[in-house]
Symmetry: C2
Subunit: 225 residues, 2 copies
């Protein structure tokens, strides 16, 4: 499903090299539920952006369903992203001038799915935002924006959901509702990779990858954590 | 210190009225440490924006250190904000084209404090970001941006710190470091009001105000919570 080998990402900032990710290797099979944890600045979002084909590595290889991502053209990468991957950004990344409903509908329009309005509305209902469908992002609370981003990530029934800190702005009860959605999707076969710093979210995963200073510090099955 | 009476905020959205906050009344004395909790969308940020003089209520009164905020001109409100209040925004609200150091330095320049460069650098060190001073917000991780916003809020030694979900993007250990900073400021006499959904953050407060559907649901001293 997902196989990364010695994947690295270095940012050049003026004369300084920032090694955000160094020699990351692992394999994730279809249907796994993986939590990625680690200190602030340890490289979790950098890893998620690479797995989501939103950024290219500085070195190393990334095979997604046996496709070598580096051989794909930008259009082909966009196609993989739209058809196979649902991405929940740490900063939500919503279109500011579109309503919650239009934001959620976007992946369906890109993929030319019919009946997109109804499907988008159902995804908003699932995250508890039926009453906020016409609000724009700046007319929503922080946690409501986060939930619009979650609805948009799952609306197209992706094979893989990559969620970067999806409950950071949610109260415990709303957070539990969201994790139930991910658990149900996983029970139906969706691969879930979720960055979190919250123990009770990580406890739903069956495997925990710990990052530290840009490297994998630990990669363990979740029993006994 | 802070006294609000029947404070309400209603947003007009097309033909619909959204009652984000309804008849909120309480008093917070100087030196208190208060946690504000409640479900996503319950009115916490709306309350914080009103207390931080960033927005005007639809009705009700707000006395800050016996000053009726509604009688102040916009310039006087900006002056109160800069001199008395440190605000940590839920979405950080950093200047995108300024470095971390320049963002933290801004309140000192506004207040014409000399030696602002050194003071700003110390605040960044306190939140663990000495090595990221020259990075712009889009060259920082989510939790690093959040910590820049925290450093900016405390740099001017405000009488009151209003922090809206300051640990939502931080791992547990980094979050504990941040809460220690707030506890130390509170021990020195700073009034702290913090929105959080994390139990271990709220446990450091001595009083918890629970919101629900725009109203105060419970306002209790923290023993026994
Ligand atoms: N500009 C606006 N126009 C219309 N409705 C708004 C606006 N801003 C906020 N709201 C609504 O007011 C309600 C309260 O918002 P608020 O941001 O105060 O909630 P919150 O308690 O901070 O939530 P969260 O924990 O998700 O951050 C929400 O349901 C939101 O949709
Ligand atoms: N565009 C960039 N230019 C330079 N440095 C960057 C850039 N983006 C990220 N970094 C640095 O790379 C490191 C890893 O960032 P990343 O966003 O992956 O961390 P993270 O684990 O997601 O942290 P958090 O938990 O705070 O969100 C950080 O120290 C950050 O400062
Ligand atoms: Mg991150
Ligand atoms: Mg809020």
């Amino acid at each position: 499903m997902i196989e990364v080998k010695e994947l690295s990402k270095t940012y050049q900032l003026g004369k300084v090299d920032v090694h955000a990710m160094i020699d990351v290797s692992f394999r994730i099979d279809a249907g796994e539920f993986v939590a990625v944890m680690g200190p602030s600045g340890s490289g979790k979002s950098t890893l998620m952006n690479l797995l989501g084909c939103l950024d290219l590595p500085s070195s190393g290889s990334y095979l997604l369903e046996s496709l070598d991502i580096r051989t794909l053209s930008p259009n082909q990468q966009a196609d993989v992203r739209n058809k196979r991957i649902g991405f929940v950004f740490q900063n939500f990344n919503l279109l500011p001038r579109a309503s919650a409903l239009e934001n959620v509908e976007l992946p369906l329009l890109y993929g030319r799915v019919s009946n997109s309005h109804t499907i988008a509305r159902e995804a908003l209902e699932r995250v508890g935002l039926a009453e906020r469908a016409m609000h724009r992002p700046n007319e929503l609370s922080g946690g409501e924006r986060q939930r619009v981003a979650i609805a948009r990530a799952i609306v197209n029934n992706p094979a893989i959901v990559l969620a970067d800190e999806p409950t950071g702005n949610l109260d415990t009860r709303t957070g539990i509702e969201i994790i139930k959605i991910f658990s149900r999707l996983n029970a139906e076969g969706t691969t879930i990779i979720i960055v979190t710093h919250e123990r009770d979210v990580a406890s739903k995963a069956r495997r925990i990858i710990q990052m530290k200073d840009g490297r994998i510090h630990q990669d363990m099955l979740a029993e006994g954590i």
